[in-house]
Every structure is written in C-alpha cells, then in structure tokens.
C-alpha cells in the first residue's frame, strides 16, 4: 500500500494548478535514459501480510524473552517499566523532530534538559549533551574533542585494552583522517598500570572503561592527576547502571565521561538504537559536540528550554563545527530519562545491587564447578570472566540447543590470550532459578 492520500480528482486539480499536463512533466529535468528504472523489488504486500512475514522472521530468532540469557558484552538485559515504552510511543514525542522551534517543542526540550541533568548526576559531571549515536561514538567524539582542545598539536591517544573492542575500533575509524597514534591496546594483555605509563606530553587523551569489558571495576584514583600533570584529558567510559552503586567518575577527576545508555531501560533490539551519553566539565562546554538544551525565558519572562550554543554545530559553523552530528538518538534519551525518573535514586541503586549480588553468587557457584575457573582477583560488577574446560562455542551450543539458555560471550574472538574464556553477565532479570540452571548446564557442558 502507499500512504499518500491523493484521489484522481486531487491529482487532476493539482496538476492543473501547477500548469502541467502529467506527473511526468514534473520529472522532465531527470536524464531521460535513467528515468523510471524498473526496480526489482518484491511485490507490495498489505500491512497484514507484511506483518505476518516479519513475525515469521522474528519468531525464527532465539531471543532473551524466550530463553534466560547471560550475555552482556556491552548490551544488557534489564527490566524496563511498561510506562517507558508506552510514553515514547506517544506521537507527540515519536513524530516530532529536533526541537529547532522551541515554542512548539517544549516537551522534547524539557525532557532532554532532564536527561542532561540526570547524566550529570549519574556521572558526577557539570554538563552533558543531548546524546550521541551510542557509547562507541561518544568515545570517538571525546577523542576528537581532546584533539581540538590541543589544537591538533598532540597526536597520541592512549586506550586501555580493556575497553570494549567495538569502541576501540570505532575510535580508530573515526580518527583515521587525523593522523593520530593510538596506543595502549596494541598489546591486549597490558595492565591498566602499564597502560597508564604510556601517557606523556604528546598524549591528548587517556581513556579507561570501568567496569571494564571484563566486568572488573578499575581503580582509577590518581589517574586523573597523572593525566593532568602532562596536560592530557582523562576520559572514563562507564556503564550507567553500575553508577547506581559505584563512585561517579567525576569524583576521581574525569574530564569526560562517556558510555551507552542502553542499560537504562532500552530494549536489546539486536544492538540498536541505543544512546550514547557524553558529560564533561563546564570549561569544555564550547568544545563539546552534539546538541545542548539550555534554560531560557520567553517574552513574558516564563521559563522554557531551547537548543543552545549552536554556534558549535555544523548547521552554523559548517567545516569549523565541533562535529558533524545532526540527528542524534533523541527518543532513546527520552526513554532513558523516563526510566531513570521511574526508578529514581533508590530504584537504580537497587538494580545495581541486585546485579552485584546475583552475579557474585553465579560466579561463586561456577567457580566451584570442575574444569571451570573464575577470576575474582579484582572486584567486578555484573559481569565476569570464566575459564572453560572446552571451547566456548561448544559450550554455548550446548547451552542453547540442549538447555535453552543463551550463554556468554567468547572472549577469544577479540583477545587471543583469552581463548577458552567466556564473559558472563548476570542482571536482575536472571532469577536464582535461572542461575541454578546455568550452573547445572555449564557443569554438563564441561563434562
């Protein structure tokens, strides 16, 4: 079907008003030899049939609502109160665009202002922007911001090897035209301590993820001072749910905090749409990328909200803009805001506590299994590394096809020295029974 409403009468009247005889005349400027290509697309279906076809595709997937899942690795299954999904479906949020016209966009603007405020609260920073595409591009924008902060004079980026591999890849992709040297993760076995030793006067930014890709909570005290001593910026990537419990990066001196807001009530949705957050110190606000909502007054002195500091942005500054970003992940930021409002101070902490207790319980039980070993030397949050007695792929297959469980992430894919290690995540969605099933299944799979 098509959704345009034109009747034959409409068409005739409109063509007449335009002063053309046919629709074709409207396309006379299109090179004739290429005009009206025959597109080889499947025949149109009715909505009913299309939905049935797509339901067939969807049902052919295994998924976390069908089977208990222990997969994390950058995307986490959490409970999202029903009102979140309802509210973001409201047409007034869903079908508006970037709030360029504040008088008719106060809904979006105030919601994003609240998002900025909550991200500041979570991260312990002074300013946060309206969003980036995801956590990985937030990190890439942090690098670019640091690059410009140093007016392009510094060339070295130091990345902890325990940053999510996709994030490290995106940083490389984004900056490939800038002539940077990205080090730190060139040796994937390098410790955080050793990585920090690479920071020097050519370092524009040092980035750490905590909890890191392996779920471990990094000890970050002193790193900010170390960076600042040589003039480098210190950036932390964090899981927002962990910040319900853990010290905010602002408190140990981070200049930039980035991360992905998916864990804040967004569906897994096979990897997107998620929402990147980006927070920094007030002094850097003019160097920050992305949209920003600020408080304003109307002609009668009433409080309202507007997009502000747009002189940083591409539509005003063009090639001198801080970034090319335009459309961001607005609705996902609103979803996360609604999630955070609903859970609130106590709820988010409670979720974090549940993840803590249940993941530790699971880790302990798995550590007891013959053939398995769990690294519990560093404190971890929600996710932990398990050394397996057999290749991870085989164990996961057993879990999936024999026990209807979605297993962990195979670390060997990204960290050759961790072949045979599985990364398991346990959240509030995994009940005690789920954990027992997992332990049982791992035992069988390892035997």
């Amino acid at each position: 079907m098509s959704y345009f409403p034109h009747t034959d009468t409409d068409r005739a009247e409109m063509l007449a008003a335009i002063g053309v005889k046919s629709m074709d005349e409207l396309f006379a400027d299109v090179p004739e030899r290429f005009r009206y290509p025959k597109l080889n697309l499947p025949e149109a279906l009715s909505e009913l049939e299309a939905l049935q076809e797509m339901r067939g595709l969807a049902d052919s997937n295994f998924h976390t609502q069908r089977f208990p899942s222990f997969l994390g690795a950058g995307a986490y299954q959490h409970f999202s109160p029903s009102l979140v999904n309802y509210l973001i479906q409201r047409g007034e949020f869903l079908t508006a665009y970037t709030p360029y016209q504040p008088e008719v966009s106060q809904g979006t603007l105030q919601a994003i202002f609240e998002w900025q405020s909550m991200i500041c609260a979570l991260t312990g920073m002074e300013v946060a922007n309206a969003s980036h595409y995801d956590g990985a591009t937030s990190m890439a924008e942090a690098v670019i911001m640091a690059y410009h902060h140093h007016r392009g004079k510094r060339k070295t980026v130091v990345l902890s090897p325990a940053i999510h591999p996709h994030y490290r890849q995106v940083v490389r992709t984004y900056t490939q035209g800038l002539g940077l040297k990205i080090i730190g993760d060139d040796d994937l076995t390098r410790s955080l301590e050793d990585t920090a030793k690479l920071i020097d006067r050519d370092t524009l930014i040092f980035i750490v993820q905590s909890p890191n890709f392996f779920g471990q909570i990094e000890r970050l005290d002193g790193l900010a001072a170390q960076c600042h001593a040589v003039g480098a910026l210190f950036c932390v990537s964090a899981d927002p749910v962990s910040l319900g419990l853990l010290k905010p990066p602002g408190q140990y001196g981070a200049d930039i905090v980035v991360g992905d807001g998916q864990a804040l009530g967004l569906p897994l949705s096979f990897g997107g749409p998620y929402v990147g957050f980006f927070a920094t110190r007030k002094e850097y606000v003019r160097k920050m990328a992305g949209r920003l909502v600020g408080e304003a007054r109307d002609r009668n002195g009433r409080r309202g909200y507007v997009l502000t500091l747009s002189t940083r942005e591409q539509h005003i500054r063009r090639e001198k803009a801080t970034s090319n970003i335009c459309t961001n992940q607005g609705l996902m930021a609103i979803a996360a805001t609604i999630y955070l409002a609903t859970l609130g101070k106590h709820g988010l902490r409670r979720v974090a506590e549940l993840c803590w207790h249940r993941s530790h319980y699971a880790a302990q039980r798995i550590a007891e299994l013959p053939g398995y070993a769990v690294d519990m030397t560093k404190p971890f949050f929600q996710e932990f590394v398990v050394k397996c007695p057999r290749p991870v792929g085989e164990i996961n297959d057993y879990l999936l096809y024999q026990r209807r469980l979605i297993g962990g992430y195979d670390l060997g894919q990204d960290y050759p020295h961790l072949a045979g290690h599985m990364l398991l995540a346990v959240t509030e969605m995994n009940s005690r029974e789920d954990i027992h099933e997992l332990v049982e299944a791992l035992k069988e799979a390892g035997a």
Partner: protein, 491 residues
C-alpha cells in the same frame, strides 16, 4: 511566574519510587566500601507522577501526528504505526547483538534483504546498514573515498568540493575526515556552477559532495556532466541522500555515476524522527568502493546448502575502513524501513516520490507571486522561498513563529544559506490537498499581515504555551543542568 510543567526534580520527594524490584534471593556479597558512591542525585517520584509529567510534556510538542510539519530537508511524512509494531516483535526487540549468528538468522535475513533492496533502489553494488544517521553516513562515505585513493597510492588528494547550498553536515564531515573543504558557488538556476567545478577539479581532489535534488529542492540540470567532470580528475562523487524522497523509482544515483550515497531511513523510509533521532543512514556504494565498506555487513555464507534457505553471516569487506558504531547499526530502524519497503513495492515507492513532488509544486504554485521564489522552476519534493519583503520589516523567523498561531509547524528557515531569509518547505506526499490549501492560505494571510500588522508577526507566536523564547539570552546565561554542581567539582 507560572511554570508550564515543573522539572521532574521539582516533583521529587525523598523516599518515593516508581518501581519495586525482586529480592536478591541469593546469598549477598558485601560491597567494596571504597568504590561506592555516597549519594545519587536522581529524582524520587511515583509512577503516576512520571506518567503525568511526560504525558503533559508530550502535549507541548507539535508533531506529525498532530499537524502538518513541513520542515524542509527533513521529510516529515507519516510514520506508519505498523512499523512500530514490527520493531517491537519480541523476536527482534529482545534479541541480543552478541548472540551466536545461527540463533538470529531472522535478523540477518532481514538485514540482508534490506541491503539488497537499498542497492536496487540506489543502483549500487554494496550497502552498509551501520551508520546511525545521515551525518554518520556522510563520514562513512568520505572516509571510504579517502581510503580508496590511499589504497591506490594516490596520497595527494586532500580536498573535498562542496556546493555553497550544501547542508552543514557536509563540510563538517569533510573536516572530521581530516580533509580540506573547497566551496563551490551555485549558478543562477540553482545548479552547482559548472565552470567553478571544472576550475576546482584537479588531482588534489578527493571528490565532490553533492545533494540531488539539492537543498533548493531542484534537480541538478547538469548532473551527468558534474559527475563526469569529477570522475575525469580522478575524484569520486558523494551523494547526500537526504532528498531521496523526490527520486525513488524516478532515477537511481548509482546510474548517474554516484560512487557513494547515504540514505536517511528516517526521512525517505518513514522511520520516526523521535524528536531528534534515532535515525539510520545506510550507505550505498559503487563497485569500486564496495571493498571499503565499514564492517561487518550481512552476506549469504558459502556453506549454504542448495535448496535450503540461505545461511547468513556477518563478513567484513577486505579493505574496510573499520567499524562506525558498536554492534550492527540501529537495527530497530532497519526493521521499520524493511516494513515500509515491503508494503510499498516498487510502484508504491515511486508513487511516494511522485506525490511528494506533486505536493511541493502545488504548494509552490499557490505561493508564487506573494512570496519571492529566487530559483523558480519545477521543483522536486521541496522548494525555497524568501521570507521577507522589501516593504515590510518582518524576517523569515517572524513568519515561522506566526505560522504556529495558524497551527502549522514552521518550515526550515535560514537554510540553504544562499537564499536570504530562506523558508524551505517540504510538504511530503502524505499531506492531503485540503491541508496543503490550508497551509497555503495561512502563509498568504501572513504575507498580508506582514504588510498590515507587522508587529503581529514580530511578537508571534501568540497561541503557544510559551511566547517567543530568548535564544540569545539562553546562550549567554548558560543553564544546562538543573542539579547542584557536585562538591568535588567546586573544589
């Protein structure tokens, strides 16, 4: 002064919450005290407060679902509700991006189909679904163009040519890719100036970024020559596909010789704009760039057994510029675009473009004469008029604000930069003739008011919940967060 809607923080009271959560029901593990935060400054409210707050906030927005939203360059068309249902099917919405590929063949099949369809629609050899929006598609494309030259050992090329009518993301993208921007003038008919282009083309040129139809809503009359000129100097042509809604089924950018193009699924293919995203900006490429696509993309694996359904998997092209995003793209948006293309078929998609163009030209025909049309010829899906008159003090912004009083969202204003007081009007195909007529009448009435009661426009809007907001003041007196600054930051 009365507040429209309090901030959620102002509705907070210590001790309230909107959820209950399960008991840990496992032995508890003590927390490492030194790693814990001392306080968490989030609001404390009950569910009803949340629902009311965001419901009331939502009602303060104009949106496609409530009225015409003719924001030029943004293709604010109807966002079919069936797409929302499709994206929320549990098999899609609850699948994890890191699941073994064999357990998500449904997702991969959908992505593969969509890649194929977008290739077909654009006339391209390859497609990546990874970019999250148009601007990210641009960066993807420009990085590929750069990589292509470097791969051929052609290291002199550092310049990107960009017409002065281009969207801001084009030059900003070029800079992000570390390239130098050379701006090209437009000719009197709104085309890129062919002579200037020829003069600029040499062996330092990475390529041209062009939007066609361009941001004036006009089809480039010399498009074939433009492409040939750039190719002749060894450069590549990037197409900004923001305006694809004018030409789906009408002409394929790949056939015209474009080397890369980004699609805006949130424009042409009806995925909702969400108050500023999420979008999706897949890129299509010609054969010579296919190896440079960001990875991974979905392919039919060679272990597919004959007569069996294809076995899909992720593969990374051999010379890939790398990964643009964690995971595989804004998958939920891909589902919606899939649904949209599936219900339209080729004929439906072409019909969309035809009627988008019909609507724009009809509206133009109703405004011509009253509003000055600086580049006046048959337009495509949108057109640009001047929002000013020599004998009136009003400016485009005043007209925009006044339109709100007539219950219409304003057009894009002050873009493209080559038109004074630009009003860029894109009705899209899903507005009916009656609505177009009402919109035209409002604009005609406003033109009258601009001459008879200009203050009415200059002080507009008058019927919105807030009157005109002071954006300049806001940028001076920056308030970006409603929470107290944390103690450690003050130290």
């Amino acid at each position: 002064m009365e507040i429209l809607e309090p901030l959620i923080y102002d509705l907070s009271r210590p001790g309230r919450t909107g959820v209950s959560l399960p008991e840990p029901d496992v032995p508890e593990t003590p927390f490492p005290a030194d790693l814990l935060r001392s306080d968490l400054d989030l609001p404390e409210v009950d569910q009803l407060t949340v629902v009311r707050h965001f419901t009331r906030l939502s009602q303060l927005n104009f949106s496609i679902d409530t009225r015409m939203y003719p924001l030029g360059s943004c293709t604010m068309k109807y966002n079919p509700r069936v797409n929302e249902d499709a994206a929320r099917l549990p098999g899609f919405a609850a699948s994890h991006p890191m699941q073994p590929q064999d357990s998500v063949q449904g997702n991969l099949a959908l992505m593969y189909q969509l890649q194929e369809w977008l290739k077909e629609i654009g006339g391209f050899a390859g497609v990546s679904l990874q970019p999250a929006a148009g601007a990210q598609g641009e960066l993807t494309g420009v990085l590929m163009m750069r990589a292509y030259h470097l791969d051929r050992g052609d290291t002199k090329r550092t310049k990107i040519l960009i017409p002065n009518s281009a969207h801001g993301t084009n030059p900003a993208t070029a800079s992000m890719a570390g390239l130098e921007v050379v701006e090209l003038p437009s000719d009197s008919r709104g085309n890129v100036d062919l002579n200037a282009l020829k003069a600029a083309c040499d062996d330092t040129v990475v390529g041209l970024m062009i939007t066609n139809p361009n941001t004036l809503g006009l089809f480039e009359e010399h498009i074939e020559e433009v492409v040939q000129t750039v190719h002749a100097c060894g450069g590549l042509v990037y197409g900004d596909g923001a305006n694809m809604n004018a030409i789906v089924g009408i002409v394929r950018p790949g056939d015209l010789g474009f080397d890369v193009l980004h699609y805006n699924l949130h424009k042409t293919f009806s995925t909702p704009h969400g108050g500023g995203g999420p979008g999706s900006g897949p890129v299509g490429v010609s054969a010579r760039l296919a190896d440079f696509l960001p990875g991974p993309i979905v392919a039919v694996l060679s272990d597919t057994e004959p007569g069996k359904p294809p076995h899909y998997g992720f593969v990374t092209p051999p010379k890939s510029i790398g990964r643009m995003k964690a995971f595989w793209g804004n998958f939920g948006m891909l589902v919606r675009a899939y649904a949209y293309i599936r219900v339209h078929g080729a004929g439906g998609l072409r019909g969309n473009s035809e009627h988008a163009v019909l609507n724009a030209n009809y509206l133009l025909s109703r405004l011509r004469g009253v509003y000055h049309v600086p580049y006046d010829r048959i337009c495509k899906h949108e057109f640009v008029v001047e929002g000013r008159w020599p004998d009136s003090p009003v400016i485009a912004l005043d007209i925009s604000k006044r339109l709100m009083d007539y219950n219409f969202h304003p057009p894009t204003n002050y873009f493209p930069l080559i038109v004074h007081d630009a009003l860029m009007i894109e009705p899209t195909e899903t507005e009916n003739k009656e609505t177009l007529d009402q919109f035209a009448e409002a604009l005609l009435k406003i033109a009258e008011e601009a001459h008879t009661q200009p203050e009415l426009l200059q002080t507009a809007p008058h019927t919105t919940p807030l009157s005109r907001l002071d954006e300049v003041g806001a940028a001076k007196q920056l308030v970006l967060c409603c929470r107290p600054i944390p103690a450690w930051a003050e130290a």
